[in-house]
């Protein structure tokens, strides 16, 4: 039984000084959580901003009624959107809103016009304060919005 007692004492003695290691581990874990939170918050705020831009751009694009179709089909038919005009409206909105100055590498990814509806997808790179700690140092945030022109 003496060897059991000796083992217990030895193992207890071996734990002396580990509080420093524990403290360093805790500090590293805490810093990791903190930097991850800051990065996620930066991505979230970029996403939120892009949501507003995509929403506004889609609404601006939904104003691009194809006038030629009115002349050809008359006012009795359903109003449709003009694809080239919608793209111009979206671009004008992006310039007017100053989105390119607000976020880095802002880009209108796609503008899809289908009949009376338009879907605008935009993307940008969030400014991450601790981006170098992420596996992908230049993540992209993408946001899309859809608008439908309901004018009869």
């Amino acid at each position: 039984m003496n060897w059991v007692k000796g083992l217990k004492l030895k193992s207890l003695r071996a734990e002396d000084g580990t509080i420093l290691l524990f403290g360093i581990g805790l500090a590293v874990a805490g810093l990791m959580v903190l930097t991850a939170s800051v990065n996620v918050a930066a991505m979230w705020s970029t996403r939120n901003y892009l949501d507003g831009i995509a929403d506004g751009a889609a609404l601006a694009g939904a104003q691009a009624v194809d006038a030629n179709s009115i002349y050809v089909n008359g006012l009795e038919s359903t109003l449709v959107l003009s694809d080239p005009l919608a793209r111009i409206r979206v671009e004008q909105y992006v310039i007017e809103s100053g989105a390119r100055k607000q976020v880095s590498n802002f880009k209108v990814k796609s503008v899809r016009v289908t009949g009376r509806s338009i879907i605008v997808t935009v993307q940008a790179q969030p400014k991450l304060p601790f981006g170098y700690l992420l596996p992908e140092s230049h993540p992209l945030v993408v946001s899309a919005a859809k608008a439908i022109n309901k004018v009869q």
Partner: protein, 137 residues
């Protein structure tokens, strides 16, 4: 000469490490949450206000609606103080000209909950949103 042992200091060291680590993290997290919440509030308020402006029928009503919506949105997010400023700018004159752009900027001073030795810190949080006036509305 007797060398003093470390026995019995673990609890004290643990509390020391915990306080030195947890307290700053809590302060930073609290400040971050305050700023994030204020940012969300100003973003929502500016977007709602610009939409309220462009769907109004007259410019006087548009301004009234925009300010009211901005105030309500900020109050929904707990901003009842007078530190909220709402500014409206238009690309065309009059503001409600078809295809004109209306930009609403909402800003708010956020007080950070810092310990007394750090003093009172305030950060200006600002968000703006642009809406287009309906052509066919």
């Amino acid at each position: 000469m007797k060398i003093s042992t470390d026995e019995g200091n673990v609890i004290v060291e643990f509390i020391g490490v915990l306080v030195a680590l947890v307290v700053p993290i809590t302060i930073i997290a609290s400040a971050s949450v305050s700023i994030s919440q204020a940012y969300l509030a100003t973003e929502v308020a500016s977007r709602a206000a610009s939409r309220a402006f462009v769907i109004s029928n007259t410019e006087i009503n548009a301004r009234k609606h925009a300010y009211a919506v901005s105030k309500v949105a900020m109050q929904d997010h707990g901003a009842f103080d007078n530190s909220v400023v709402t500014k409206i700018s238009c690309s065309n004159s009059p503001c409600l000209s078809p295809s004109g752009y209306v930009t609403v900027t909402v800003q708010r001073q956020v007080s950070l909950a810092l310990p007394a030795p750090f003093g009172s810190r305030k950060i200006l949080v600002k968000a703006s949103s642009t809406s287009v006036v309906d052509e066919l509305g």
